[in-house]
């Protein structure tokens, strides 16, 4: 694998982690917004409790992805930020409002208990980033962004105001909501609440499947290269098939109330969606405009970034593991959850 390919794969891996962690935090916002019925307050409490200690660390993965993009592939960063200025800005507004409202709700001495204005802002603004991230991912998969000598052709609206980017946008939202609901079946402290999130997980899995099929159909015309790589190569077919199977397995496990299996399958499904996207997009970073090879920064930069990533991981991995073990240790492994459920007052 060449150095640019390795860096591109690293960025994809960072995006996978961001989807699995940060994406699920946005999904939690969706279920906060849709909390209904007599257990609405307890649903929201479960969500806030699950997100609380970890959302900021999860959010850093997005910054790492964008830093790696502008360091290793400056022209790709330039063309995306120029042509997709509006969806990226909308995403940022969502990021600012979501994070601020979440922490305001937590520390406001008058905001304890009960729904408050902060909670509404938090829930509403959680919708914006997933949709806009999907819109950006969808647009760079379509051959509409031109880039020559620092000038972007294709306009600032037309490329992303098309059906395909928005289908991918809502697909992303559904995917994050699904992931969050599956995680929350394990975070829930009793069977009734668990059943609430089970229903939500099943409903969002159906949306993911439906939007996935629509995206696949629309992609044939809108993103022909992506569709071709996924439909007509061995690797592409394998990823698509495995992804569909993973989603189906997660649904089956949810119905069988096997929560850990459902989560493992859901995680696998999300990984495969992103791997499939990367597989379909390659060799482009921005279809028709920037390739991995031509867009890469000079070798000296790629080499340094590789060393920094390797060295940083030595610090990061144990610290992240400690964070999750401290606050989510209960739900990391089946044995721990059983112990906790058996414990008096747990």
């Amino acid at each position: 694998m060449s150095a640019p390919d390795a860096l591109a794969a690293t960025i994809l891996a960072v995006l996978v982690i961001y989807a699995l962690l940060g994406g699920a935090d946005f999904g939690g916002g969706v279920w906060d917004l849709l909390a209904r019925g007599p257990r609405a307050a307890r649903q929201r409490e479960t969500i806030a409790h699950a997100i609380g200690p970890i959302w900021e660390a999860n959010h850093v993965w997005l910054i790492v992805a964008v830093v790696l993009l502008f360091t290793a592939f400056p022209p790709a960063f330039a063309v995306i930020m120029t042509a997709l200025h509006i969806p990226v800005t909308l995403m940022l507004i969502g990021v600012v409002l979501r994070g601020s409202a979440f922490v305001f709700r937590k520390v406001d001495p008058r905001g304890e208990g009960g729904p408050s204005g902060w909670q509404t802002v938090f829930a509403m603004s959680s919708l914006l980033p997933p949709v806009m991230i999907g819109v950006v991912a969808g647009t760079v998969s379509t051959p509409v962004l031109g880039y020559e000598d620092g000038v972007v052709t294709g306009g600032f609206l037309r490329p992303w105001l098309a059906p395909f980017p928005w289908i991918v946008g809502f697909f992303t939202l559904a995917l994050f909501a699904f992931l969050a609901a599956v995680y929350l079946t394990l975070e829930a402290r009793d069977e009734v609440l668990r059943a609430d999130f089970q229903r939500r997980a099943l409903a969002s899995a159906a949306s993911v499947a439906a939007l996935g099929v629509v995206a696949a159909v629309v992609a044939r015309d809108a993103a022909p290269e992506l569709a071709d790589h996924l439909a007509n190569t061995g690797g592409g077919r394998l990823v698509v098939l495995a992804g569909a199977l993973a989603l189906a397995s997660s649904v089956a496990a949810l119905l069988a109330r096997r929560w850990f299996a459902a989560r493992a399958a859901a995680v696998l499904a999300v990984v495969l969606v992103l791997v499939g996207w990367g597989w379909g997009l390659h060799p482009w970073l921005v279809t028709g405009a920037v390739t991995v090879r031509e867009g890469a920064a000079p070798p000296v930069t790629l080499r340094l970034v590789g060393w920094i990533l390797a060295g940083g991981s030595v610090v990061l991995v144990p610290a992240f593991a400690y964070l999750y073990a401290t606050f989510h240790g209960r739900v990391l492994f089946p044995q721990a959850l059983r112990r906790d459920d058996d414990a008096p007052g747990g």
Partner: protein, 444 residues
């Protein structure tokens, strides 16, 4: 409003907002660490409450700093894509390192804030220390980028059609790196400490017996005074580097139009760029030569010897520099007063004049940070990469930038008001917390 001006305004608003939260994100963990350590050693209830109040503040400032910092990392491309195409492979290296520092800070902040009663006391205290260190490390890496924009080492433009030759390590270790970092770190500690002092002094004016606020004021004045008294030394080093590397910026700071030996130091005054004069300034003979070169007879380059299309805006830079130095002097004086009282074991909650001076010190300290940042960045104009790329050549072709500029300005104004209201509520709530409460953590 033309597009370049809108882009510059949006960047200015975003940075002016973020720098406050970033500075507090660096400074407040240090205060909290001290207070937490005192509580663990002595079991002082006042220090427990203080630690909790400060940690809630840190939760807010860190979160808003994190999201506004995210906005900035994207705005680099949203507003200055051509700058990023050139600079990305160089400044991406310190930014990548900063990513890991930021990770560490976010992870241990989660452990600290949610760790009450869940992690061992030693682990929680260590988390506070890690937050403080990684916050300072973030500043180190971000200031490297800022230093490079002002002294772009490690970049040699190629002949037309050929790529430039780059050396990211040389870029990261640019001449301004360490001097800028020290200056900014001291500013962050001073501003955060005096900001905390403002809150505590303001409450002590009403309730001089409050133990939490007394404890808070002691720590805040101690840290703030040391930082403010060291700052002039750091400022001197930085100014001499500017004199050496960016004569146009130094000339604008001092509104020096004429190149001359024994250049005077101007205090106040209104520069007139058309007439190339300064009205109403107090001139200290040979003062500038002495400060910038440590030699009263040294020749200092005036703006007359710099092409006019390479002048930074003179008046804003001159005013900002005067404001920064003036406030810095005031802070050092107030800090020395406080230290003097502490050294003689006198309380800080009297005389009332000291409390009033401290109430004023916090907001002024943040004005000084904004002013200092104006000196560096407006003083760098018209360049985005000093001597290599003009700001006007870096801006995005995206039309209608006045819309995002207005949007982010309103958003940040609302957030600023909310944060101030919340800080007041938190301070009042901790005052009223029942005496026998246990440190079980925050309500979920």
């Amino acid at each position: 409003m033309d597009n370049l001006f809108a882009a510059r305004s949006q960047m200015a608003v975003s940075l002016a907002f973020h720098i406050v939260f970033a500075a507090i994100g660096v400074g407040l963990p240090a205060l909290m660490l001290l207070s937490h350590a005192v509580w663990l050693r002595t079991g002082s209830r006042a220090h427990l409450r203080l630690t909790r109040a400060w940690s809630k503040g840190l939760a807010i400032f860190f979160a808003v700093g994190a999201v506004s910092g995210t906005v900035l990392s994207f705005e680099l491309g949203l507003l200055w894509p051509k700058f990023m195409e050139v600079a990305g492979p160089l400044i991406g290296v310190p930014f990548s390192l900063e990513g890991f520092a930021f990770f560490t800070e976010a992870i241990f902040l989660g452990i600290y804030l949610y760790g009450w009663g869940r992690v061992r006391p030693g682990v929680q205290l260590a988390s506070a220390a890690i937050i403080a260190v990684s916050g300072a490390a973030s500043a180190l890496f971000v200031l490297s980028v800022n230093g490079w924009m002002n002294a772009p080492s490690g970049y040699v433009p190629g002949a037309p059609g050929t790529p430039p030759s780059i050396d990211p390590v040389a870029a990261m270790t640019n001449p301004f790196w360490i001097a800028n970092t020290v200056h900014m770190l001291l500013a962050a500690y001073a501003a955060t400490a005096f900001g905390a002092a403002t809150l505590h002094a303001w409450r002590l004016l009403r309730d001089p017996a409050n133990e939490m606020h007394r404890a808070g004021l002691r720590i805040a004045v101690g840290v703030g005074a040391v930082a403010a008294l060291l700052q002039p030394v750091s400022g001197d080093v930085t100014a001499r580097l500017v004199a050496e590397r960016q004569p146009a910026k130094l000339a604008a700071m001092e509104a020096l139009f004429e190149t001359r030996a024994c250049a005077p130091l101007l205090i106040g005054g209104i520069p007139d760029e058309e007439a190339r004069t300064v009205r109403g300034a107090i001139a200290i003979p040979c003062g500038l030569s002495l400060l910038a070169r440590h030699d009263p007879q040294a020749t200092i380059t005036g703006l007359e010897d710099i092409p006019e299309d390479e002048w930074p805006p003179v008046a804003p830079v001159h005013f900002a520099f005067q404001i920064m130095v003036g406030i810095g002097t005031f802070l050092a004086a107030v800090g020395a007063w406080g230290l003097w009282r502490m050294a003689r074991r006198r309380p800080l909650h009297e005389p009332r004049a000291l409390l009033w001076a401290l109430v004023a010190a916090g907001p002024l300290a943040f004005v000084a940070i904004e002013a200092g940042w104006t000196v560096t960045e407006v003083g760098r104009q018209p360049w985005v990469i000093y001597g290599i790329m003009r700001t006007a050549d870096a801006v995005t072709p995206m039309p209608g930038l006045v819309v995002p500029f207005t949007t982010f300005t309103l958003l940040y104004l609302v957030l600023a008001v909310v944060v101030i209201v919340l800080m007041r509520r938190i301070a009042l709530a901790e005052e009223e917390a029942p005496a026998e409460d246990e440190p079980e953590g925050f309500p979920a």
